[in-house]
Amino acid sequence: MNSMKVINKKNILILIVIIVFYAVAQALINNGTINNFYEITLATICINIILAVSLNLVTGFTGQFSLGHAGFMSIGAYVGALINMEMNSTSGFLAGILAGAAAAAIVGILIGIPTLRLKGDYLAIATLGMAEIIRVVFLNMDDITNGAAGLNGIPRFTNWMWLFIFTALTIILINNFVHSSYGRACISIREDEIAAESMGVNTTMYKVMAFAIGAFFAGIAGALYSSYFYFIKPSIFGFMKSIDILVIVVFGGMGSITGSVIAAVVLAVLTTFLQSYSELRMIIYALLLIVIMIFRPQGLMGTKEITDLFKIVKKNEKNQ
């Protein structure tokens, strides 16, 4: 079994692609082609990729419609920022990310166990309500979170290297999860929950697991965000932020990691160009959602990945 070895052709190829991608972007930053303004776009892209891929695990692969992803992001952002401000060092930054992600995952489990019994529309509203509750709690913990004014002067440790490392890690780990037996169980829940249950899949466990993993990575994204933009306040993580993430997932295709990545890039670039017309941007987002749902409900990529493209090429070669 060639594929069982860690060092095989495929993994080496993936590693090379990752390193080349990183080096090219780093070189562009160094020689100033990507200036400070575009660097913000780059950071937004990375953070949105982490958010969208993790939401895709919950909504796209497991089929649990969540409207509360920004809530988990805010937990990561606050926990990360508080630890980061206390320690003010790279190790503090990393500890903050880890603690923020862990806190988000724990809250994810606590909220997931009761709410994931609900289905479809009800689950969407319950997760939305839960994110609102998290936001209101942060808003009212004046002593710790400084209430509506938010936390200011968070030390900046997030740079292109850390963003890239965490984005790549998120994609690789979630991709591996989806292709494991756990991931197949999650997909079976999306396809038909009753059938999955009768085949012996512990649906509650897998739903909570997907929810917790999604929350974990959303926590990472939140901690990276807080350390990149110096400043967080509860209103950043409102209902609209959850919708922003959902738009990326839907646009890219629910059930396609490649789709989420492409959509995060496209929408971030679009946002950069429409920066001074924020209302127009939201109108375009809204029309995009409606038009995609009417004409291409499976999104840009459907459930296909970029690796499927190579498989098709290989198959054609074999046939000839």
Binding site: T115, D121, L128, G129, I133, M282, I294
Partner: protein
């Protein structure tokens, strides 16, 4: 005790507005099983129409209410025909996402044209106060409660006693069977949207008068709360929506009055999660069994 009664009075007037909005949610959900996220924004449009006709045309409360209801009914029909009808047979999640899209579209198109700033509503109703001991009742609150009750009675009459009401109940019970019996399903669904949206428009005008301010994002939170009210009362049930609306209004004013008004929204959502876990069909809803 006095404070409690005072909060109760405020809660009932706020709750009757929620009930009007909740009725639209519950009717639409009953007939096509869709959480119409855009419903809260129809209510916002209603408030703006009321604002426009009273400020620029200078007309009174009742005509403004009627114009606002008619324009919202039209808007509801357009939304249903353009956005929801093409998706009637696709996955539930697709329609839900479309509804979110329509909601954003209404909010930001409105913001694009009228600006994001808060506007103060013209004074349409007498706002003198009546005092019963220590309890203060604003005449506006009486108008609001009575308008809401009148509209709800009208709706109850339409649904129970008219032909189109019978058609609505038939389509909501079984769409295919209703079609086989010769009921025009499409126009019945449009009519349901029209009525629900008209009630939301009335709610918008009333809330504009009550809070004296409107803005393009005003529909988001009340819309969600009205949905909570509809779920609490039992989604699909008209009396349920009324009871739910009043309960949520009272809960909200009690939390603001006795606790911390910042926790108001959190309390409503916590309440929703508790209902969904304990009795997802709501207090007047029917239990549905899961079928394979």
């Amino acid at each position: 005790m006095n404070q409690f009664l005072q909060q109760l009075v405020n809660g009932i007037s706020l709750g009757s507005i929620y009930a009007l909005v909740a009725l639209g949610y519950t009717m639409v959900y009953g007939i096509i099983k869709l959480i119409n996220f855009a419903h809260g924004d129809v209510y916002m449009v209603g408030a703006y129409v009321g604002f426009a006709v009273t400020t620029y045309a200078g007309i009174g409360f009742i005509p403004a209410l009627i114009i606002s209801m008619l324009s919202c009914a039209l808007l509801g029909i357009v939304i249903e025909k353009v956005a929801y009808k093409p998706l009637r047979n696709s996955a539930r999640i697709a329609i839900l996402i479309t509804a979110i899209g329509v909601s954003l579209l209404l909010e930001y198109v409105m913001m694009y044209f009228v600006g994001a700033e808060v506007r103060s509503y013209p004074k349409l109703l007498d706002d003198s106060v009546l005092k019963f001991g220590n309890i203060i009742i604003n005449i506006q609150q009486i108008y609001i409660v009575f308008t809401a009750i009148a509209l709800m009675l009208l709706l109850q009459f339409v649904v129970k006693n008219t032909k189109i009401g019978k058609a609505m109940r038939a389509v909501s019970a079984d769409r295919d069977a209703a079609q086989l019996m010769g009921i025009r399903v499409d126009s019945t669904i449009s009519f349901t949207f029209a009525i629900g949206s008209a009630l939301a428009g009335a709610g918008g005008v009333l809330v504009g008068i009550y809070y004296n301010s409107i803005d393009p994002l005003m529909g988001m939170m009340p819309g969600l709360k009205a949905f909570v009210a509809a779920v609490f009362g039992g989604i699909g049930s008209i009396p349920g929506a009324m009871i739910g609306g009043l309960s949520i209004g009272i809960l909200e004013t009690l939390v603001s009055g006795y606790g911390n008004s910042m926790y108001r929204d959190a309390a409503v959502f916590a309440f929703l999660i508790i209902i969904l876990i304990l009795k997802p069909s709501g207090i007047l809803g029917k239990n549905t069994k899961e079928k394979v």
